[in-house]
């Protein structure tokens, strides 16, 4: 099912955020490329990058390396697991010392969070039903 003693599939991981770090190594495989933006990284690493990981390509060895800092349960997980099971990709735990700075440095992690900071907007209306109307309108936009 998996390669190596430390390897494991994504389904066995915590659903929201991985503890520590995991490295994913794969040979280039076009079947794994999920999104054009991530295709340069190729293969399973592209898939992992798509899942908010970080990916790189080692041209000399012809393999992709990536560190998955966070992984959310999405459609992509299933296909990634498939490659881990088939042996095309290998997912293994890596020590914290080899994690990217953002995974171990609180400041770097905070700066990532700040990019996702939320904004508060309070809007007042003259009529009691207007706020609800606007809320419904926004909800409709969300659904679209």
């Amino acid at each position: 099912m998996t390669h190596g003693g430390a390897s494991q599939t994504l389904t066995s991981m915590p659903s929201k955020r991985l503890r520590g770090g995991f490295s994913l190594t794969s040979k280039n495989d076009s079947r794994l490329t999920p999104a054009p933006a991530a295709s340069s990284a190729g293969g399973a690493c592209a898939q992992a990058a798509f899942l908010q990981g970080e990916a790189s390509f080692d041209g000399t060895k012809g393999v992709h390396h990536c560190v998955i800092e966070a992984c959310r349960a999405k459609e992509g997980d299933a296909s990634l697991n498939e490659f881990v099971r088939s042996g095309t990709a290998r997912l293994s735990r890596i020590p914290p010392t080899r994690l990217p700075s953002s995974a171990v440095d609180p400041k770097a992690a905070n700066s990532k969070k700040e990019n996702k900071i939320s904004n508060l907007v309070v809007v007042a209306f003259d009529e009691p039903h207007q706020a609800e109307e606007v809320r419904l309108k926004l909800q409709k936009l969300q659904n679209e």
Partner: protein, 125 residues
């Protein structure tokens, strides 16, 4: 997203949104600001918690609403940044009225939002 209403006798009531929208259906950004609402767990409670996390709890919202004039309402929205759909959002909000009383948006975004709300409605819309 919470709707607060101050009725004709001056009583403030809060109505928490109850829609169940998964995260990946939410727009990103300032549209985020309004359409990309933060539904951490896509539940009403999550929306309230998200607001409470930034210091906007029910007590604050009721106190805030009590300062409004009788028969008025307010909408508390927590949003994400940035957004790809600002223009679409502003277009949808155009002419709906309302005044931005408090926001952590940039001055530019806040001005654009206020301008859209205050703009006359387009004919046929």
């Amino acid at each position: 997203m919470v709707v607060a209403v101050k009725d004709k006798v001056g009583k403030a009531k809060l109505h928490h949104a109850t829609n169940l929208i998964p995260d990946d259906m939410v727009f990103q950004g300032f549209c985020g600001s309004l359409a990309s609402l933060i539904f951490h767990n896509a539940t009403t409670g999550a929306a309230s918690r998200a607001l409470a996390d930034v210091g906007i709890n029910d007590h604050f919202m009721k106190t805030f609403t009590s300062m409004l004039t009788l028969g008025s309402s307010a909408l508390f929205v927590l949003t994400r940044t940035p957004t790809p759909s600002k223009d679409r959002l502003l277009e949808e909000l155009r002419g709906l009225g309302g005044k931005v009383l408090m926001t952590s948006l940039s001055h530019e975004d806040a001005s654009r939002l206020q301008a859209a709300l205050s703009a006359p409605k387009l004919a046929g819309s």
